[in-house]
Point group: C2
Chain length 208, copies 2
DNA sequence: TAAATTAGCGTACGATCGTTCGTACGTCAA
DNA sequence: TTGACGTACGAACGATCGTACGCTAATTTA
């Protein structure tokens, strides 16, 4: 029934397309999202799908924007209101690992997947991804710097080095979970994050 | 000039195909390697390319096998003859970061790229990748366990957790280098690796 | 020397890719 | 009531995908 749609329903359709695209991309990569496949999965025509975005590249950018928003909601916002510095940084790490452990995508965190897929390509998706991840790294570095100023972290902490390490550890949960079937990756990652922050282990074993 | 080829030259052709496939895959992913593109890049016919492997899946598996061999040569073999335990483990980390910093692929380490690309898919490539990465993790864990026994690492070290962390950190160099243009990722990664091993920093700042 | 093997080419196939049309229908403002 | 707008459809396009087949020619084996 063509044209049945109100503006409201059209927005719902757009969201449904992006949701499906993100789900597929988390498994097959952003390149694995084809318009024909989206159409089949949503029982729409190909032109009905692409009409909302104009081109595949715009669809990819919109999918990335959705995933960025979800990441922000699941990782940043739960920690946003904690005390700036180490408390908020640890809150971020906790929300981050919890999110990555159960991201709501069938193939693991979309952002991590696409980071590795598009890191060395050229084009607007790469550029937008670099911008998004750069902002996230800045957020982490700002938090680390505050924690150094308050004395919660060692004075010689290199914010860029630590932010890089936290990012690498969180991203590493994806292949660990799906390649090896590990179930402890969240706690593994949290322990490793404390280690790169040079914080003492949570449950220090009695030094024999 | 068809049929000019000796067995020796045929092996050279096969190697050239796999080399090119690995180069492309390091940037565009293993899925981005199409037979037509390989043929164009090598100035061959499509049938001449695929004839060496029979199917695209076999080509993918052969490419993965080549990359695994290169990884072994560049990361394991330089450290192989060091003293088992912490010395060899640190030697591995050093060769690992050096390799990842300059892997010989245009798009960064092939293994890391494909680990994230195929971690949550199904099929023979995923299975072989899981096997390979599982073996590598076992190698790391064995080395960690020895270092614990010799007292070079804390007695409460969780080998699986540490091996996971080292892997995540090394893989993280890829997007850091190509997404943000970082040039210090090798030293960042080595510092983070020492941290997850709970080893003191190499250049400890005077504790203020 | 004759036969078997094999690398590689050229062509063709069905399928799918992203994109571009023209059209139909429903909503909403004039 | 009419016209503009926007959603979605169906069909078609050129390109590329992986694969299959028959062929030539050189090497290798018997």
């Amino acid at each position: 029934m063509p044209g049945r749609s109100s503006v409201h329903e059209a927005l719902e359709t757009r969201s449904a397309i992006l949701r499906t695209a993100a789900d597929i991309a988390s498994v097959e990569g952003l390149d694995g999202v084809s318009i024909g496949r989206l159409a089949a999965e949503l029982r729409m025509s190909k032109s009905g799908v692409i009409g909302h975005f104009g081109s595949k590249e715009e669809l990819q950018l919109a999918t990335l924007a959705l995933a960025t928003r979800i990441f922000r909601e699941r990782v940043w916002e739960p920690a946003e209101h904690l005390t700036p510095g180490l408390p908020r940084l640890l809150g971020i790490c906790e929300a981050w690992t919890r999110y990555t452990d159960n991201p709501g995508y069938p193939g693991g965190c979309f952002i991590a997947q696409v980071s590795y897929e598009y890191d060395s390509r050229e084009g607007r998706v790469h550029d937008e991804l670099a911008r998004t991840m750069g902002l996230w790294r800045s957020t982490l570095m700002a938090e680390i710097d505050i924690a150094v100023e308050t004395g919660d972290l060692p004075a010689d902490t290199d914010a860029a080095q630590v932010a890089f390490s936290l990012n690498a550890l969180a991203s590493g949960m994806n292949p660990a979970r799906h390649l090896h079937g590990d179930t402890d990756t969240a706690s593994w990652t949290l322990r490793a994050m404390r280690a790169v922050l040079r914080l003492p282990p949570l449950d220090p074993a009695p030094a024999t």
